[in-house]
Amino acid sequence: MSYEMVWQILQISLSVAICAVLAALVPAVAAAYVLARFSFSGKSLVEALCYAPLVLPPVVTGYLLLVLFSRKGWLGRWLADFGILVPFTWTAAVLAAAVIAFPLLVRSVRLAVELVDPRLEEAAAGLGASPWRVFFGITLPLASPGVLTGTMLAFARCLGEFGATITFAGNIQGETRSIPLAIYTYLQQPDAEATVWFLVALSLAVSLAALWGSEVCNRRLRVRLGGAHVGA
């Protein structure tokens, strides 16, 4: 396997994972905040929808995305009018990974928001802070370790995404073939064991680097937050 090919596979893996996490982050934080702080009718339905990709087989999630975005699907039909076709593109790989990672983000952020003492938010409101200012100035900073943990978890999950990707984005070299898809491809070929081992090592290295990075960030955050979540 050429150097260019390795670089291409690594680039696809990283770009898909990073973009997927970034795409999922804002809606996930919003959903987590709503689920943590508000009660409303239909909440359990929203909850079930948010967590569905976690319990569904990824192939099923991928298939549902394919149906939704195909030329005749709800969203695909509308997008086709603008000349946009999502399935079997790099965008589809990002979308598949984002949907799969979404519940992991929601879970971590929700737990973190629930740990933020709502009395601190009350105090901030009493000091003249609008709800937006309270969220960005108090809630989010105090929940940031959870946001970071969720982000790393989601990133790792995106790097390993296989089922939904191969169903919705295919296994296209130079477009959607990430490390797991490449490993799968080379496993099908005779005499490619060395390449498989190389890709496995690459996968390990990327994952460990991500884990180490998140640990460093997390430690710094906790020091900055003084290790306290409740107002003493």
Binding site: E122, G126, R133, L142
Partner: protein, 361 residues
Amino acid sequence: MLALDLCFRRGDFELVVNAQAESGVVGVFGPSGCGKSTLLKLVAGLLKPQRGRIQVGDQVLCDPEAGIWVPPHRRRIGMIFQHARLFPHLSVQQNLLYGHRLVPPDQRFIQPDEVIDLLELKTLLGRQPGSLSGGEAQRVALGRALLCSPRLLLCDEPLSALDDRRKNRILPFLRRVRDHFRLPMVYVSHDLGEILQLGSQVWIMEGGRLVARGDYHGGGLDAWLAPNAGDHVLVNVVEAVVRAHQEAEGTTELVLSPVGEPWFAARFEAPLGAKVMVALGADEIALVPERVPVISVQNQVQAVVTGLVRREGRVLCRLDAGVPLVVALTCRGAEQLALSVGRKVFCLFKARAVNLLGMQH
């Protein structure tokens, strides 16, 4: 300054309050669960009443029938709570200035330097809230509330999480705030002694209702105070000056007024001439008709009966002993003494019953 006419329901609990308060300090007193904290939350806008009106100064903050609702962050009402609720990710200085920065400059009438000096916060500015003691944190919280230049300061049991020693250190700061900024304050507590150190206007709450309100010394509360006189809640809070320490007797001599007799308290550390606040429980005082020539009790103070209220087998006796005093008696005791308004009596109480509350700085 504050006008309330509201009704709030949550589950089985119902709070109905209709009252006005003028400037100064209003103490809200009642047992836990009576709704006093709920009342403050309603004024601050942290809870919404089902109906009624809340008015501070000339602005109506809430009137559901007229569709008026000012959200908490636009009310300009300072609040301190049982716990300091400092933001743990911000330094003390950032905490202090959090609300100040949100107030338009032309509406800031309280400046950081003033508050830092008054509350002695200079040495704490660079610290993180996690490293402060409970008392220090509460002082910072008080400063933070003041710095948003509020038109009203609400205090929700701000001392109840502190031990007595720390409590007595914070109260002088609250008195300073009261005297320096002349802010209207509503002070909620289940400790009448605490309230009386700040002012004598008291609202008494029970089961979500205001059952009495008025001046503690003026008799407006007597109908409620008399039947509850035996429950250790009634207390006399007086200001005094330390005149001398009697090392041999283990007492400290206090002067209350230029003409009255001195009081003796159990010896405490204070420089001569220091201004102090002391408390004396209403049920710690015994009354006798004549001066007792020889007795182990250290204090015998002459007084004149100024008021008597009988309720449910209890008598609340008001006295003028140079300072106003309340004494709780049984009906039988009052009859045996043949108490009547204008009668001269002597108050007996042990030095140990006179408790130091705090020292003026």
